[in-house]
Symmetry: C2
Subunit: 303 residues, 2 copies
Amino acid sequence: MRFEVLILGSSSATPIYGRHPTAQLINVNEQLYLVDCGEGTQVQLIKYGIRSNRIKHIFISHLHGDHYLGLIGLISSMHLVGRKDELHVYGPPPLKEIIDLHFLHSQTVLRYPLHIHPTQDLTMEPIFENDNLTVSSFPLDHRIACTGFRFDERKRMPTINRDKTDALGVPTEYLPLIKRGNDYTAPDGRIHRWQDLTLAPPAPRSYAYCSDTVMTERYLPFIQQVDLLYHEATFLHDMVDRAEETFHTTALQAGQIAENVQARKLLIGHYSARYKELKPLLEESKSVFFNTDLALEGNWYSV
Amino acid sequence: MRFEVLILGSSSATPIYGRHPTAQLINVNEQLYLVDCGEGTQVQLIKYGIRSNRIKHIFISHLHGDHYLGLIGLISSMHLVGRKDELHVYGPPPLKEIIDLHFLHSQTVLRYPLHIHPTQDLTMEPIFENDNLTVSSFPLDHRIACTGFRFDERKRMPTINRDKTDALGVPTEYLPLIKRGNDYTAPDGRIHRWQDLTLAPPAPRSYAYCSDTVMTERYLPFIQQVDLLYHEATFLHDMVDRAEETFHTTALQAGQIAENVQARKLLIGHYSARYKELKPLLEESKSVFFNTDLALEGNWYSV
């Protein structure tokens, strides 16, 4: 099953050096989810060949402009290209008021249902689930209310080990029962354990998105052992005072967090405009957590 | 004196084919004015090498997203790069409420003074002037309240004809008086008319910006005989019904308007996403008003 992240924007507040404000597209089994939606996200989607109407759910971490100012334009463009499907947007409570005020004054009545779901930043909470995954929001520690999002693949059923069931001549109608954990009693009376007739499914994968935050202990329980951790790394560590003052993180701290929560892989992004070259950020994070990668726009990263 | 228009965005509602939503930069004697500010305008400014902090005045025609959704991001980026100078924004009354709501929830206190001036769409009205020009808003006829803007160069004083004043030996201290319309009496008692001692200044130039509008008689008095008329031309004329239904104009109508008001030159833009190729729009307008040009992003047009 596909589970990948496309970086649409990797810059912190100012778009510069061809980098754009934050947005990511998550593909889980060919269903598309958008996480944050900085200014220009709709143009980035076009650039990377994504039809925006394939997106059914948009998750907004917080109400700093570089994380949501592309949302109203995207919602409007979906309307203009004739969208009929529901769109669900999840974000801090005032988001609804902001969107409503725009559409009131632009006198737009959307031709598709838009549902805006308020998030909270006190505890971890599942906010969406379907057959493939669960999405939860969890609190981060930023200058204003801000949540991260965790995408957890749902546990899949084991697959039948056809070599074994064929050899035993198990009738087809028994296979779904075996998959669901029932042992098989053969005509000769011998019992075959379901574990021996199936192949274990791959372990469910998880992706955590840590948008803007200062480094604290507070959110570490929510991102334990994720397969892929995206964490902001706005500054190099020589700017740690500035990072704390502005409720951001350094590349070194991002590495430390990944190490601490035993993530399998770390992706850093949200680069300050002061860094034209990103290699020093990568090296700093790698010095504590080797399996770090830079979030680069247009790249897909497997979870 | 420089008086030029840089096209930053030429698309109608949807950004497509590398075209962006509406925005224009006007350079009058090295002072920069922004007219409309669609999503992504700040990135377009960077692309064309314009330092946004040189802009002191921004004029917003109406509150459809493709004409103002880049404004909050631009205002925020000016703040982040340390702007200290005042910024003046002119637009429909609800614009202030929209901007205030964003900055309330993003908890941003701008480090520079932002003044938001409401416009009205009932009559023509001067909304800004300085030594170089007067800017007036005037009503257009769109689905929601919408104004155009007219930039009128102020009448300049004549320049001294040095050949003549030198030949007559006019003392330097008399020259400013002559420029202001006083005749010169020579020591021999002969009176020299100021008109004979000066060169007439070039006629004041004018630029009119007609943002989204259906074609009506109503706004024609406000754009008479402008040197450069920018007029939206969203559709080809075979779509005139659709144009009227959506309160837009066809390329043919834009040409007719330019002809009717005796503009010197016409610039068309705000192209619908249905036109990848723009040549048919240009040709249609040229069939009634030959001196038409396409508004193309990155191009400067002299007024």
